[in-house]
Assembly symmetry: D2
Homo-oligomer: 157 residues x 4
């Protein structure tokens, strides 16, 4: 059987699996550009977009997943960033309002991959998108930890 | 006449003048602590409070004084900070909502002194207070400029 | 010819081309963690690593590529970030010294891909790595521009 | 005796006391402007100067006072900012190198007042000056604490 056919079968199989996989909810947080986010180019500084996503996740952890970052910290847990990716489309400027949409893309035993989109609210255009790869850690040791079942459940919506 | 009496008369005269002086309006902006504002002490980082006041002023410039920072920049003008003072009372923490109240305390030919209070919204307690001394500058040269009459008028509310 | 064989030939051809491609120099900048970079987890905040790479590139633009960011700005040019990726290995802490190594990985007509490594100086361990995808823009319009020959030459070392 | 004479005597007495008071050493730290410190006005953002002073103090705590911030934290102590003042003279720009000079101005039972000057290195001109009023706190409770004798001694140089 030629490689092309195998590839095609695999690809279809993958799509099938994907459709059977649970789809995680997308949540949305409204944020505003702060003047100190603007850099010498007159638009929001590159690394601040990552902080916007962090702010949105924190808000959604409390409001949507019903477990605030404070509760994680109290349980001796924290989320560390293992990797982050951002693709810029349209810069945000002073006074801009944005919608930060995030959803869990992968839920693993010790971590979670979150995909995000930052939307410029005035015209609904995509400003940036990407993902964060978080790992659950023990605050004392800084080492990765298996995500406990009650947290897995909370994140499986 | 002994010095103490002169001092007392001057002091009363000053109070009289002060009461006749125009009182400027106080405006209020609601802001939220962002996770990236938190420092190693687990509360909002000292210098971020100044950024909160800046954010509040920008919002109030547009909404209350009817002249946004963007309009200043377009006219080749900007406000530089000449001095700033902050007194911390109660630290703000992750997730805290705040009210930033500011008012013009002095309107001079080339600058304006703005006093502020940062209130923790949950209990109305004072978190920080202080002032900013701004000077109007020409963006090209960076040099101070006399505030034009239409701007003086806008700031005299 | 089966697809697998074609793939294999292409792959080898690609490797050949890659070996013939010019290799760009790697430059190194020494930086120090600043206390305001530390976040609630007690280590350097995720998005600050991107600012370290930016700082290293600015220093290297002047010292190594002989064209400072100021010179770009004077010529009406700037570099915008199109995409950025970061993978965290070991967190940096208060007082840590680091080496930021960067090299041009791709030089395109309108942009440049820069790969970086952030090394913890005390033990030479890798703290983070990733890449930045920059696009050259006209400062007035914010639109991409073809990189002019003298700049291409400077970046081809 | 008229009030003016009493005032004059008090004033002279104060000057005498002041001359007898111990003078604390001034220490100096060299820092560099980081590109992410630059704001929309093309110079270092107002609140970042406070972070420069913080960075200088941390460096001096370890090098000059022989007790690093890490050691304070390990002993369950931290320094909170009670008040801060800054006066801007000349803005710092991209690529600028600075000297941050600080000295203890007052050593109280629960706190310390530190005065600072930020010098632009290229021409030795004063960029900013002001003070920080720190209070020693118990990290657990966040409450002020009497500074222990060994720390008083270290800070009395």
């Amino acid at each position: 059987m030629p490689a092309g056919m195998i590839e095609s079968i695999c690809s279809n199989f993958y799509l099938l699996i994907f459709k059977l996989m649970p789809a995680y909810s997308t949540f949305e947080t409204e944020l505003q550009v702060r003047p100190d986010d603007i850099d010498m180019n007159g638009h929001v500084h590159n690394s601040k977009y990552l902080d916007y996503v962090l702010a949105a996740r924190f808000e959604q952890m409390e409001r949507c997943y019903k477990m605030s970052m404070a509760e994680f910290l109290e349980r001796g847990l924290s989320w560390y960033v293992r990797a982050a990716f951002i693709q810029h489309k349209i810069p945000l400027h002073m006074g801009d309002q944005m919608l930060v949409r995030t959803h869990v893309a992968e839920l693993r035993s010790r971590g979670v991959k979150v995909e995000y989109k930052i939307i410029r609210q005035v015209d609904g255009k995509l400003s940036a998108k990407g993902y964060f790869d978080y790992v659950m850690v023990d605050r004392e040791t800084g080492r990765p930890r298996v995500i406990e079942p009650d947290i897995v459940e909370k994140y499986s919506i």
